[in-house]
Symmetry: none
């Protein structure tokens, strides 16, 4: 939560409605031939028109030069310092497959790997074996039992799985077993504080049982575990901002993040069309909506410039439906940039617009990275977006006499 | 004071002169019809010309989205973190009517309210009774005596007054008696630490005596007390910045704030004309002047767009007199925006110009919110303005070898 000791004293509940659309991987970089970015290439008349009547700016998800994962990118937009509230890798992976953990569960990101006859790593990802091949292996691991420990193993994709452990007095401060290099054996998990001793012991027992189970295989004959972590205890948006917030996201991980910060998760479908339908149906029942658009990021991660352009154009076609709802404040933001020419997340500032009755526009009519350089919002930390949304919605009273 | 451990080591006293003009409520928002802000609408040729030869930028008084009261807005411009040095409501109200408090005085903002026969609040502001009607009531309250306590009650306006208490070992950590809602009785003041126990007892005795005195009335038959506070012990501008600073302000509250940060208060009149006369007369005797222009804010608070335009034009007409003094550094800033379309303070960034021999201008010739987006100063926290003023005046030496 944004570090304002006085935040609760200035937040007030009002009937006004905020819709925050997060276009995953919104920002991009110019194509080397055309010298235009994905947004500059796309035919996005609705976004262009919307930008012309909105306050415009750019957000820095974490800080200059830092490329955020999806967790930090979203946390920042919700107003949470993404460094202070960094989520463990195990937890994020668990949220990503829709696991419901309780506060005593410890989750780890696991993957199959391959070792030689000396036990040294020769492939940290076991040739990225297919989901089809690893599913029965995960089932075997799930049958491992440890005394006094409740454990479960869950398929993610390809060589990846999630391990969830629960035991009396278990703590999460345990070192990873992945040495991050080849020709060395997987590491023994070590407790990093006294309280985590039992956890480390159980993990090492689990790993050696897994090793036995897989030992007759040539590939994927061992496992690596990373990011032991518990659910973080986060301040809640409903309490801190005095909102009644709801989240609409097709992907489990974003629902999981939203739940951790106190949003109600609305059941929805797999497409943005279905997400919008959910928004329309529930519009009267909440005062803040986070709605997530994934395909732009996926295309960017694939390094497919044209696909990203096309996904931005598809997003554009949905803008009229958003406007028909006439929210008091409409925010269109991104959790980070995903330039197709990089094929990955990046650190570049992300376009932002905020439309409300108090933003009468700045005459500019292109929704793009470059044209937002001179926007009235300027370049702001992404953690400030919520403050501006709340202010524009009349949900912040004066600070100080 | 801006949180620089090395500040004192780089500040140096020089004969150069800084004039900081604070135009209260300077920034605005576009009129819904004309789509022009107050500054864009006003005919302000002197400010436009001055902007064209100055460094331009925008200030954030507290942070994105946060609307400051006058206290935080001014403290920031003087270089003080407005969150760290937040002033109590009682103190600010006392400063506002020109009371001179000592370091042992506790001030509270009081107001008359109305309760029914059960003692439950039915009007927290007693129909905002007139100053005429409440003046004799304040006189009655002022006659209340408490053993071992020196107390006084002072008229502010309408239903509002200030209570000042002084007793041996009195501390300010006492909860407010205003429940902030109706159909419940006023709260008993509670001490929030051991040291404030006697203060709370005296306050409750005062309230019950006040209740008896007012009990025969139908309206304004009870009081509410808020913001118990002592004078804060602030770092002083004369010490920290090595300045010999002076303040010129028609309104008592701004004089009070200036005094708290170590400025000498210069006697002046009720108009900006008279303030300028005071500046001219005293120009040789100080190296820093804070001079306050109030009418723009007042018009904005009234929601009167045309009046604000006209007050900005009046301010513009005084610019030549400021320039005639030829200060080494001229700063024109605002403590916050007060858009007439909102009729209140707002969170929006505030235009800023700094003119010195080291600012040769940026070619732009409109003094307005939008045209300053691309100014060389950029968007800065208002707490940084003093540093730039000092630097332009040659009052900051090199940091580090």
């Amino acid at each position: 939560m944004i570090d304002l000791p006085y935040l609760k004293t200035i937040c007030r509940s009002t009937p006004s409605k905020i819709v925050m659309v997060v276009v995953d991987g919104l920002g991009g970089l110019p194509h080397t031939q055309s010298t235009k970015t994905e947004l500059e290439t796309a035919h996005i008349p609705n976004l262009d028109k919307l930008a012309s009547v909105s306050a415009r700016g750019l957000t820095n998800p974490v800080m200059a030069g830092v490329t955020p994962g999806s967790g930090p990118g979203h946390m920042a937009l919700f107003g949470y310092d993404p460094v202070k509230y960094l989520m463990g890798r195990g937890i994020l992976e668990a949220l990503g497959i829709g696991l419901h953990l309780d506060e005593n569960s410890i989750a780890a990101r696991g993957n199959f790997c391959t070792v030689n006859s000396n036990g040294d790593l020769i492939d940290r990802r076991a040739k990225r074996i297919s989901t089809h091949e690893s599913t029965p292996l995960v089932r075997q691991l799930n049958n491992i039992s440890l005394p006094g420990v409740s454990l479960s193993v869950h398929m993610v994709k390809d060589h990846r799985f999630v391990l969830v452990l629960k035991g009396s007095g278990f703590h999460e401060n345990v070192s990873e077993t992945d040495p991050q290099s080849l020709n060395t054996s997987p590491l023994v998990a070590r407790s990093l504080d006294l309280a985590s001793k039992n956890t480390a012991t159980s993990i090492n027992t689990f790993v050696s049982k897994a090793e036995s189970l897989l030992s007759n295989r040539n590939n994927a004959n061992m496992i690596l575990l990373r990011g032991f972590s518990k659910l973080p205890n986060l301040p809640k948006m409903n309490v801190e901002y005095k909102l009644n917030p709801a989240a609409i996201a097709a992907y489990p991980m974003y629902r999981g993040l939203a739940q951790l910060v106190g949003m109600k998760i609305l059941e929805t479908g797999q497409t943005f069309d279905e997400e919008l339908l959910t928004l329309e149906k529930n519009f009267n029942f909440h005062d803040f909506f986070f709605i997530h658009y994934k395909p732009a990021d996926a295309a960017g991660e694939d390094g497919d410039f044209n696909a990203k352009v096309s996904q931005l154009e598809k997003f554009d076609s949905h803008i009229p439906r958003l406007l028909d709802l006439n929210p008091d404040v409409l925010v269109i933001a991104g959790d980070h940039s995903t330039p197709a020419i990089m094929g990955s997340h990046s650190w570049h500032p992300v376009p932002l617009i905020i439309k409300s009755a108090l933003t009468q526009g700045e005459g500019n009519s292109q929704f793009s990275e470059r044209s937002f350089h001179d926007g009235s919002i300027g370049r702001i930390p992404a953690t400030h977006v919520m403050m501006l949304a709340l202010a524009n919605a009349g949900k912040l009273t004066k600070f100080g006499p």
